[in-house]
């Protein structure tokens, strides 16, 4: 591990300490690192941080993985049949451009205030990105590799499974990577809406309303760590699976 990677976080911590103790900013809004650390630890051992984290992860996972299944499947199909893609391109691009959270109130009307509405909006946000990236990957599959399979008289199914699918994986994974970040944002935002009783987003908004600022920071840090670990973990898996990407 390179030693210099700790410099940035240390400098940030130092700045935080300076800002808090110098009074540059309102110390209530920028609490001391120690009080945040205390809230962090207490949140886990006394409060229900674990529970809220778990709930957020579950909502994220349901939404994200269902989006992966549907997005990859439809992406392969639409990428393969170009005219099918053209016929729905405007719809896809339009809904892709609507901020998913703007649709949350609508989803609540349909699915109520429970988990189903949250999972659905995560699914909605991710599936289109994954679909578009997958379709793009299929469209950009090497013609030469398809020609190779054709000269070897491979069936259409075999060309799909043994050439097109693996060849489009780097683009699929690019879509999944964007999807993960998106899903996390959306799930936390939806948890801030009225009627929610659990999740990291709920903690953050509740603590903010009653001015429990260190507790709020602690929850934000947990959400950040979750995102960080998800991204790093995903990159690790991605490099293993699509090891040839960019080479």
């Amino acid at each position: 591990m390179r030693k210099e990677i700790v410099i940035g976080p240390l400098v940030l911590l130092l700045l935080w300490i300076i800002i808090h103790y110098s009074g540059l900013a309102n110390p209530v809004l920028v609490p001391s690192p120690l009080s945040v650390a205390e809230a962090f630890v207490l949140g886990f051992i006394q409060g229900n941080m674990f529970y809220d984290l778990g709930v957020t992860i579950m909502r994220f996972a349901w939404g994200f993985f269902s989006a992966v299944i549907v997005g990859v499947f439809l992406g392969l199909l639409l990428g393969y049949f170009e005219r099918l893609y053209s016929s729905v391109e405007i719809i896809i691009d339009f809904f892709r451009s609507v901020p998913a959270t703007a649709l949350f109130p609508l989803f609540m009307l349909f699915f109520g205030v429970g988990d189903l509405a949250k999972v659905s909006v995560v699914f909605f946000a991710c599936s289109l990105i994954i679909l578009v990236n997958t379709a793009y990957g299929v469209k950009n599959v090497s013609h030469l590799r398809i020609m190779l399979a054709k000269v070897l008289r491979a069936s259409q199914t075999k060309i799909m499974l043994k050439v097109i699918l693996p060849d489009s994986l780097p683009h699929v994974f690019a879509g999944l990577r964007i999807g993960i970040s998106f899903a996390l944002i959306v799930v936390v935002v939806t948890e801030m809406f009225l009627g929610t009783v659990s999740g990291l987003g709920h903690r953050i908004i509740e603590d903010q309303l009653v001015y429990k600022i260190p507790e709020m920071y602690a929850s934000i840090i947990v959400a950040g760590l979750l995102g960080y670990i998800l991204n790093k973990g995903f990159l690790f898996i991605e490099r293993r699976i699509v090891h040839w990407s960019g080479k």
Partner: protein, 258 residues
């Protein structure tokens, strides 16, 4: 010659001029080529004369406008081909180890993994090819990638091996080495080989017969028999007969260019 092994007869093919001008331009104009079983034929012609198109038609990958192709009296769609594409590094599947790339034709035929791998090792041994087969293609050198592609084109015992300017991306040394290696592989496997080249010396040095194509609209200018015994040596490229052959082809090309 109706009984030739590879029989290309009166093949014509036109392509639209370009994106804007869709009027078809005649590329292949009445091409007839006969190749005997086990013969090593090079196809030589100026750049852009449709050599690749001709190979693709022979392989049944694209349809000719007129004329017919048969391999051993049958449709090319029923024949087994090995094909080394011009841009061969791209034709390797980067998600598969080299050994599984070479075995890919067998995988498509549904052979099981152990059998495939065994056959690859056997073939590489037989041909005297040394490739780090457990590496991924992007970890191989240009020459190693070339050898892997050649091995892949032979693993399923093709009726005909097609090679499309396979050495154009290699450096000079590797190129000379591969020219001899291909001849050695051909002598060992006795495969019928159609080799497209745009290098006169290479075309003569390697082949039993050189088929010279004209510029567009392309037809066969001449078919020249190369009378040298095998194995060929570099000295042969300096003898009078070789130089005469070269001169003859040059003269035909002058007609084309001039």
């Amino acid at each position: 010659m109706k009984n030739a092994f590879v029989c290309i007869e009166g093949v014509r093919k036109s392509y639209p001029n370009n994106q804007k001008d869709k009027t078809p331009q005649l590329v292949l104009d009445d091409i007839s080529i006969d190749v005997k079983k086990g013969e090593f034929v090079t196809i030589f012609g100026p750049n852009g004369c449709g050599k690749t198109t001709l190979l693709n038609i022979a392989a049944g990958l694209i349809k000719q406008d007129a004329g017919r192709v048969s391999i051993n009296q049958k449709s090319p769609l029923k024949a087994i081909f090995g094909y080394v594409f011009q841009n061969y590094p791209e034709s390797l599947l980067p998600w598969k180890r080299t050994i599984d790339n070479i075995a890919f034709p067998l995988e498509l035929k549904g052979k099981d993994k152990e059998e495939r791998r065994k056959k690859v090792r056997g073939l590489l041994d037989f041909l005297g090819l040394h490739i780090p087969i457990n590496n991924y293609p992007y970890q191989l050198s240009g020459g190693q990638q070339q050898m892997a592609v050649i091995a892949r084109s032979l693993i399923h015992d093709p009726d005909v091996l097609l090679m499309d300017e396979p050495f154009s991306a290699l450096n000079f040394q590797t190129r000379l080495y591969m020219q001899d290696k291909i001849q050695e592989i051909w002598s060992k496997t006795k495969v019928t080989l159609l080799f497209v080249s745009h290098e006169i010396e290479e075309a003569i040095y390697m082949a039993d017969r050189v088929i010279v194509l004209t510029d567009k609209p392309t037809h066969v200018a001449k078919s020249l028999i190369v009378p040298f015994p095998r194995p060929r040596t570099r000295d042969m490229t300096l003898c009078q007969t070789f130089i005469e052959l070269k001169k003859e082809i040059f003269k035909m090309m002058e007609g084309v260019i001039g």
